[in-house]
Symmetry: C2
Subunit: 179 residues, 2 copies
DNA sequence: GATTTTTTATAGTGGTCGCTACAAAAAAAT
DNA sequence: ATTTTTTTGTAGCGACCACTATAAAAAATC
């Protein structure tokens, strides 16, 4: 997970994944079936843990504006962290950027499915307060998260992301309130 | 340029680039020196053309809010276009996403330099009206553009991006006006 | 038209990719 | 303790990567 996260799907090889797991290629394929098979499990584990900032924000309760604001703040806190101190590479979101520019259609499809799932959760939650504008508001949140993830991958630090997250939060509140 | 734009730096090989140009590898290297050499020229040509939405927006004049709003609108119009109809791949911004997750440090450095250049132009322009908040406001614009580029690469259509661009424009105006 | 220079194509360099055949070692079952 | 099953490491599969040595073709010069 750390390797995929730090460098993206294509840039990390099966041999290196095996070395990190302490196994050799045959054991790797016996365990995961394929490189994409491990990536699928990786995405699932990632989305089930602390990286699912929307789930964490929602667990603390509050109305839509509060939860979305918290989601953006958590992303700003999570995204700049270095995920694999040994080698290079920065964080951002594994789901949003892990398979970006990948040449493997299977990896792209897996990441796409995870993105759709995440967006649907945000959209449905927003719909509880603003059913008619839920799609547009969800797009605002998703684009903001994608931009923050990309900025983090380009070296943006926590302070910068928190400033952007605060502005995105104000933008969301303004759009939600309908003026 | 179309190939790099559609699929990203790593996912397109020298042989394919040569085939598109009608030349074979030795002529390719005589002309460009290396794959990264062509990428550098590609980035320059891209940034000098219609893809530089900020330069286009600025050329039409207006105050900071007007120009930034126009920049976002032009990005929403440009990013969803398919750039290489023959094969797969979607648009977004070549500078922002062309070398994302690349394993080649040279390609990353070239794209990074182009991004810094673009951000500096936006920042300096914003500074003409809001010198003390120019950095934060430039970050908002850059993150918005990165998010829109990523969304376009994930299949967002023009209508969706224009909706997001309009919301980002309102966010920028609000932040610029200082409340 | 013959000679020199430039450009090109053929073919192949070593390297890495995802993945696997095979055989040795370890574990489980009898 | 022997046999069977499972797991593992060694080695290598074909394919592709960026890149290049060499020699033939094309262009330019004389």
């Amino acid at each position: 997970m750390r390797l995929f996260h730090a460098r993206g799907y294509d840039a990390v090889g099966v041999a290196e994944l095996g070395a990190e797991l302490g196994i050799k290629p045959p054991s790797f394929y016996a365990a995961f079936g394929s490189k994409a098979g491990l990536f699928e499990r990786t995405l699932r584990r990632y989305a089930a843990g602390e990286a699912n900032v929307f789930a964490r924000a929602r667990a603390e309760g509050g109305d839509v504006a509060t939860v979305i604001g918290r989601t953006l703040a958590l992303a700003a806190e999570l995204y700049p962290g270095r995920v694999y101190p040994g080698l290079g590479g920065t964080a951002g979101c594994l789901v949003l950027d892990g398979a970006r520019n990948s040449a493997d259609p299977e990896a792209q499809a897996l990441a796409d499915a995870a993105k759709r799932e995440g967006r649907a959760a945000v959209r449905d939650f927003i719909a509880t307060e603003a059913p008619d504008r839920a799609d547009a508001l969800a797009d605002l949140v998703v684009v903001a998260m994608m931009g923050m993830s990309a900025a983090a991958r380009d070296g943006a630090d926590r302070e910068k992301l928190e400033r952007v997250a605060a502005m995105m939060d104000r933008a969301f509140r303004r759009e939600l309130s309908g003026a």
